[in-house]
C-alpha cells in the first residue's frame, strides 16, 4: 500500500517536473509581455525535431543539442518576439493568444510536412535503469528529470533575484515604465525572457521526447498540461509553475489509480477550476490588482 503510493508519487513527480519545465516558460512570457503562449507545446516539439535533424546527419548528441539550443533561441526567442509579439502586444491579450494558436497550427503542420506524421524515438541522455528502494521501482531517468528541473528552476530564480540583469528583468516585468525611468533597456530585458523560454523549452524537449516520442502533435497535450500547471501554481510566480506541475503529475496518477481512470484527465482540470474560482492568483501567486 505504502509502496504503491510511493511508486505513484515518484512517477507523478517526474511527469510533473516535465509539465513544470514547459509551464515556467509560460509564466516567464506572461510576466514580461502578457503573452499567453498557446504555442508553448510546439516550442518543445520543434526543437526535438531540429535535434533529430542534426542527429540524422551523424552529429554527436551533445553538439546536436547545443546547435538545437542556438537554433531555438533564434527562432523562438528573437524571431517569435520580433515577428509576432512586438507588432501585436499593444492590441491586447486576445489577438496575441489567437495568433499563437495559429502559429502552433503552422508549426505542427510544418513539422509534419518535413518529418512526416509518425512518432520517432529519440536517444536518451539519462541513464536507463531502475533501482529498488524498499520495494519501490525508481528509475534513474525519473530522478534525473527531477534533479535537472529543480536545478534549472532554482538557478533561474537565483539569477532573477541576485544578478543585476535578473533584477532588471523583474523590474521590467513588474513596472515597465518605472524600469525605463531607471534607465533599464526594457525591450532587451523582455528579449532575455524570450531567450530563457526558448532555452527551457529546448531542455524540456531533450528530457521529454525519449518518453513522449517525437511527434508533430505532441505539443497539444503537453501545452495544455503546462498551461494548467502555470495557472494552478500562480501565473506570476516561477516556483508556482514548479509546484503546479508536480501537483498535477501526482494528482493525475492518484486519480488514475484510486478513483476513476477514465476521469484521470479531469483531475487536473477540476483542481484548475477550483483554484481559478477561489484563488485566481494561483496557490503560490501574488494577487494582481484589478484594473479599471
Amino acid at each position: 500500500m505504502f509502496a504503491d503510493l510511493a511508486q505513484l508519487t515518484i512517477s507523478g513527480l517526474a511527469t510533473g517536473a516535465i509539465y513544470a519545465l514547459a509551464a515556467m516558460g509560460f509564466t516567464l512570457l506572461w510576466q514580461t509581455s502578457s503573452t499567453i503562449n498557446f504555442a508553448q507545446g510546439e516550442f518543445v516539439m520543434v526543437p526535438a525535431f531540429i535535434m533529430l535533424g542534426f542527429l540524422g546527419i551523424g552529429m554527436p548528441l551533445i553538439f546536436a543539442f547545443a546547435l538545437t539550443l542556438a537554433a531555438s533561441a533564434l527562432i523562438f526567442g528573437v524571431g517569435f518576439k520580433r515577428a509576432v509579439v512586438d507588432p501585436m502586444i499593444r492590441h491586447g491579450v486576445l489577438p496575441l493568444a489567437i495568433a499563437a494558436m495559429a502559429l502552433s497550427l503552422a508549426l505542427q503542420q510544418g513539422v509534419k510536412l518535413v518529418f512526416g506524421a509518425e512518432a520517432r524515438s529519440v536517444p536518451d541522455i539519462l541513464p536507463d535503469g531502475v533501482t529498488r528502494i524498499v520495494g519501490v521501482a525508481v528509475s534513474y531517468r525519473d530522478v534525473g528529470v527531477l534533479v535537472i528541473s529543480f536545478v534549472l528552476i532554482l538557478g533561474l530564480q537565483l539569477f532573477l533575484a541576485r544578478t543585476l540583469t535578473g533584477r532588471a528583468m523583474q523590474a521590467s516585468a513588474q513596472n515597465p515604465d518605472g524600469a525605463r525611468v531607471l534607465g533599464i533597456n526594457v525591450d532587451r530585458m523582455i528579449l532575455y525572457t524570450f531567450l530563457a523560454n526558448a532555452a527551457l523549452a529546448s531542455i524540456a524537449a531533450l528530457l521529454v521526447t525519449p518518453i513522449y516520442l517525437a511527434k508533430f502533435d505532441l505539443g497539444g497535450p503537453l501545452g495544455l498540461k503546462a498551461f494548467c500547471a502555470a495557472i494552478i501554481g500562480g501565473f506570476n510566480q516561477m516556483h508556482g509553475a514548479l509546484a503546479g506541475g508536480l501537483l498535477i503529475g501526482v494528482i493525475e496518477n492518484l486519480t488514475g489509480a484510486y478513483f476513476a481512470p477514465q476521469y484521470k484527465d479531469a483531475a487536473a482540470l477540476v483542481l484548475f477550476v477550483i483554484v481559478i474560482l477561489f484563488k485566481p492568483e494561483g496557490l503560490f501567486g501574488r494577487r494582481e490588482e484589478r484594473r479599471v
Binding site: 504503491d4 511508486q7 505513484l8 512517477s11 507523478g12 517526474a14 511527469t15 509534419k112 512526416g116 506524421a117 509518425e118 512518432a119 520517432r120 524515438s121 531502475v130 521501482a137 528509475s139 518518453i211 513522449y212 516520442l213 511527434k215 508533430f216 502533435d217 497539444g220 497535450p221 503529475g249 493525475e252 496518477n253 492518484l254 486519480t255 488514475g256 489509480a257 481512470p261 477514465q262 484521470k264 484527465d265
Partner: protein
C-alpha cells in the same frame, strides 16, 4: 479532377458571382479510373492512416506501371480526416461528389461508423480498415473490410489466452476511444464465454504519457496475464512502464501491440510480448515479404498491417473488376458477395481470402512473439471458417 474542385471552391466562396464557373463537371476522362481515399493522415490515427495510404499508393503505382485496371490508369486522391469523425463524414460526401469508382478508408472505426451511411446512400463500394464489429452488422451491402473485425479476432486471442497461456484470470488495459472500447468489449465477452475471469479492466487516455497508475493497478490485480489494447505510441510507452515496474506475467496483444512500429519505439521493452496479428510483413509467405521489400524501397520504412490492408484493398478491386470486365459499381458490390480470391488468381491479394455476404473477410492469421527486437511468427492459424 483538380479543376472541378477548384471550380466548386470558387462557387462556395463567390456565390452568385461565380455562377458560370460553378456548374459541376461530372464528365470523367475515359482513360482513367478514379479512387478517393478518405483516411487519418493526422491526429491520433496518423500511423494507421499513413501506412494505409502508402499501401494504396504502392499498389496504384505498380498497377499503373503494368497498364492500370482494364487498361485504364488509376488516379487516386487522398483526403485527410484529421482523425475526426465529423470531418470524415464531410469528406466522404466530398469524395462522392467526385464520382470515384471505389472509396477507400477510413481506418478508425468511429469515423467509418459515422460516414458509411453517406457512401451507402450513393451506392458506392467502400473498403474500410476499421475493425469494429458494428460496421458490417448494419446490412450495408457496399462496405467491405480489409482485416478481421474485433469479434473475429478476439475469439482467437481469448482462445490463445485460455489454452496456450493457460490464464485463468486476465487484466485488461485499453485506450478509451472508439478503437479501444470496441476491442475491450469484444475481448471481455470472449473471455467470459470461456470462463476466464477478468481481474481488472483499466481505461487509459489517448496521448497518455504516464502509465504508472494503470500498470500498478494491473499488477496489483495479480492476474495470470495482461492484455494490452492501445494505439501505437501509447503501446510503446506502456511497455516501458511495464518493464520498469518489473511486471513478470505474460503480456498479450492484438495486432497493434506486437507491431513493428511499437517494437521500434519501445526498444528492448517490447521483447517477450506475444499476440495475435491478422496481417504482418513477417508472415512466412514469400508474396508478403516481397511486398514488404518493395514498400520499404518506396517509402523508406517498414509497413505495418495497415500498409498491407491498403495494398490488399486495391488488389481486391483490381481482381474483382477484371472478373467483371467492366467498371460498374453495382455489379462490383454484388460480385463481392461470398467471393473467394486466391493468390493464384490475383497475386496482389497476398493471401487467399474469402468474403461473406456482409463484407467480412476470412483468411489465415498469425500468432507472433517479439524476440530480440523483431516480431517472429510462431504459428499460423487457419481461417475461422475452417478452424
Amino acid at each position: 479532377m483538380a479543376k472541378t474542385t477548384r471550380r466548386e471552391a470558387l462557387g462556395i466562396l463567390g456565390g452568385a458571382a461565380a455562377v458560370g464557373l460553378a456548374r459541376p463537371a461530372i464528365a470523367q476522362q475515359p482513360q482513367t479510373v478514379k479512387f478517393v481515399n478518405v483516411v487519418e493522415l493526422s491526429g491520433a490515427g496518423v500511423t494507421s492512416g499513413t501506412n494505409w495510404r502508402d499501401g494504396i499508393e504502392l499498389a496504384v503505382r505498380e498497377l499503373n506501371a503494368a497498364g492500370g485496371i482494364l487498361g485504364r490508369r488509376i488516379e487516386v486522391q487522398h483526403l485527410d480526416t484529421a482523425s475526426n469523425p465529423g470531418q470524415a463524414r464531410a469528406l466522404v460526401t466530398r469524395a462522392i461528389d467526385q464520382d470515384p469508382y471505389i472509396l477507400f478508408g477510413p481506418v478508425f472505426s468511429g469515423s467509418v461508423m459515422v460516414s458509411m451511411a453517406v457512401a451507402q446512400e450513393a451506392r458506392m463500394p467502400q473498403f474500410t480498415g476499421g475493425e469494429a464489429t458494428a460496421i458490417t452488422a448494419q446490412g450495408n451491402p457496399y462496405i467491405f473490410r480489409t482485416s478481421f473485425s474485433q469479434v473475429q479476432a478476439m475469439p482467437k486471442v481469448a482462445a490463445y489466452l485460455k489454452d496456450q497461456v493457460r490464464a485463468q484470470s486476465v487484466s485488461i488495459i485499453w485506450v478509451n476511444n472508439d478503437f479501444g472500447k470496441g476491442g475491450r468489449d469484444a475481448i471481455m465477452a470472449e473471455l467470459q464465454r470461456r470462463g476466464v475471469r477478468v481481474a481488472i479492466d483499466v481505461s487509459t487516455e489517448q496521448n497518455q504519457v504516464d502509465f504508472s497508475s494503470a500498470v500498478l493497478r494491473a499488477k496489483n490485480a495479480n492476474a495470470d496475464a495482461l492484455f494490452v489494447y492501445l494505439n501505437e505510441d501509447e503501446s510503446a510507452r506502456i511497455l516501458r512502464e511495464i518493464r520498469r515496474q518489473g511486471y513478470d506475467k505474460p503480456i498479450i496483444g492484438e495486432t497493434v501491440l506486437p507491431s513493428q512500429q511499437v517494437i521500434e519505439l519501445a526498444g528492448d521493452a517490447a521483447n517477450g510480448i506475444r499476440g495475435h496479428v491478422g496481417l504482418t510483413v513477417n508472415a512466412p509467405i514469400p508474396a508478403i515479404q516481397d511486398f514488404s521489400r518493395r514498400f520499404q524501397a518506396a517509402f523508406n520504412r517498414i509497413s505495418d498491417h495497415n500498409g498491407i490492408k491498403g495494398f490488399f484493398a486495391v488488389h481486391v478491386v483490381n481482381a474483382v473488376t477484371k472478373r467483371l470486365g467492366r467498371f460498374d459499381r453495382q455489379a462490383f458490390a454484388e460480385a463481392m458477395k461470398n467471393i473467394r480470391i486466391t493468390t493464384a488468381d490475383a497475386p496482389g491479394v497476398l493471401m487467399d481470402v474469402s468474403y461473406d455476404d456482409k463484407g467480412n473477410l476470412d483468411r489465415d492469421s498469425f500468432l507472433v512473439e517479439v524476440r530480440n527486437g523483431r516480431q517472429e511468427v510462431v504459428a499460423v492459424l487457419p481461417p475461422i471458417g475452417r478452424s
